[in-house]
């Protein structure tokens, strides 16, 4: 017997009082998480390149050693008690979001492949009947070229939408810029997961 799965519906414009916990945008437990501290920031834009001020972004990532804090990740890599790997941030009136986290290590792909370091994103918003899902990879990583998921995207220009841009440093924190374009020119690659 199979139960029909529950269908997705839009989060609508009025989720903030229910879902927004600003402290969830810092994944480092106040700086205690191990690894290279980074900040990922950008904007969510619509088909007119107008900012999306009512988006909810969630990220999920491995720790600095490349292990997910989840029972199905049985790799012999250390877990970090100060790193859960989950973050949430609501966009502001200019469509901006910001996460403070650590750079993830690489994790295995299917078969004998290795995935380049990446952060999994999903975005909810008014006008999105279900979330869009994408990944941010890091610029200049040798593994990007052989990453089994990046390689599924045939067009080089589209592949580039999955790579964050180095945007300098703030003290010891490395900054990356990652815009998410929902539609049209420069549309971000979204995955059917």
């Amino acid at each position: 017997m199979r139960l029909i799965p529950t269908a997705s519906q839009t989060a609508g414009p009025f989720f903030r009082f229910g879902l927004d916990h600003p402290e969830w945008s810092d994944l480092t437990a106040g700086g205690r998480a191990q690894g290279e501290r980074i900040r990922v920031e950008g904007r969510v834009l619509d088909g007119d390149r107008a900012p999306v001020p009512d988006a909810l972004l969630e990220i999920w990532q491995a720790n600095a050693a490349g292990r997910y804090a989840h029972p199905e990740d049985r790799q012999e890599k250390p877990l970090d008690p100060d790193f859960r790997g989950f973050g949430r941030c609501a966009s502001d009136k200019d469509g901006r979001y910001r996460f403070v986290t650590v750079k993830p290590g690489s994790v295995p792909g299917r078969g004998n492949t290795l995935q380049a370091p990446h952060i999994n994103f999903c975005i909810f918003a008014r006008g999105l009947l279900k979330q869009v899902t994408t990944r941010m990879y890091f610029p200049g990583e040798t593994l990007n070229k052989s990453d089994p998921v990046v390689s599924l995207v045939e067009d080089a220009e589209r592949r580039n939408t999955l790579i964050g841009q180095a945007a300098g440093q703030d003290g010891a924190t490395k900054l990356y810029r990652f815009d998410i374009v929902l539609q049209g020119a420069g549309e971000t690659v979204f995955f059917d997961v």
Binding site: M1, R2, L3, I4, P5, T6, A7, S8, Q9, T10, G12, P13, F14, F15, R16, F17, G18, L19, D46, G47, A50, W60, A62, Y68, A69, H70, E72, R84, F86, V107, G109, R110, G111, N112, Q115, C122, A125, R126, G127, L128, L129, K130, Q131, V132, R135, P148, V149, L152, V153, R158, L182, Q183, G184, E187, T188, V189, F190, F191, D192, V193
Partner: protein, 234 residues
């Protein structure tokens, strides 16, 4: 080498499309390029855990968040979080948010000419128990107008956010009420082509859940994607 068991894919019509022109906000926000389908990896079959209580104590009673009683019909909404095979999803976060009894949200952008209720925020969260069960006490939300088309009204609904065991099971949805005449006209509800899948979003009045002289009871189960029977490649 890792053996990954994929989560199952929805069948046609069971999930809404991105572009559904009757819901105007999809027109500028729906992706137009074909989605890139990926076989699941560790990144998709893992996801955040909530069983250890890091989200804090449950907020299961939305009628006791203010100094006094909020105004409206008290209701209990309860159900189970299950997978497609009917197995309980324990220890997962269920978040609820909604309009008040007058059909107004506690949100600065909601300018509907209906009163805010100083004793009702409309937000709660619980973690499911070992049987996958959740329960909230709240108020029946009011219907409210929206500007999708002239004189359009949203059917009464509760918003639910559920994680499940994996990044691939994450879902935000809405619960509707049986017999609501607005359902027929609601383009968000009708973005789901399959009638049985739409019916899954309509709660059931449950006299056994109602509490005499106190609250109405509505039952709403949430079914997350299940997994294929055996690991791929075995």
């Amino acid at each position: 080498m890792t053996d990954i068991v994929d989560y199952q894919r929805p069948r046609p019509g069971e999930q809404p499309p991105y572009l559904h022109p009757d819901y105007k906000s999809t027109v500028k926000r729906a992706p137009t390029q074909k989605l890139v389908r990926i076989e699941h990896t560790l990144s998709e079959v893992t996801g955040p855990s909530f069983a250890d209580g890091w989200t804090g104590p449950d907020k299961a009673d939305l009628t006791r968040q203010g100094k006094g009683e909020p105004i409206g019909s008290r209701m209990i909404v309860a159900g189970r979080v299950l997978d497609e095979q009917g197995r309980a999803v324990a220890g997962t976060l269920v978040e609820l948010w909604q309009a008040n009894a007058a059909g107004r949200y506690q949100h600065e952008m909601d300018q509907h000419d209906a009163p805010l209720d100083p004793n009702f925020t409309g937000a709660g969260h619980v973690v499911t128990n070992d049987q996958g069960e959740y329960q909230f006490v709240t108020l029946v939300p009011g219907a409210y107008p929206w500007r999708n088309t002239p004189n359009a009204w949203r059917a009464q609904h509760l918003h639910f956010s559920v994680f499940g065991p994996a990044f691939a099971t994450r879902i935000i949805t809405q619960m509707f009420f049986p017999g609501d005449p607005l359902l027929e006209y609601d383009p968000i509800f009708h973005s789901i082509a399959d009638e049985a899948a739409r019916d899954r979003l309509v709660s059931r009045y449950d006299p056994g859940l109602s509490v005499a002289e106190w609250a109405l009871g509505y039952r709403f189960d949430i079914v997350l994607r299940g997994r294929a029977a055996t690991p791929t490649g075995l």
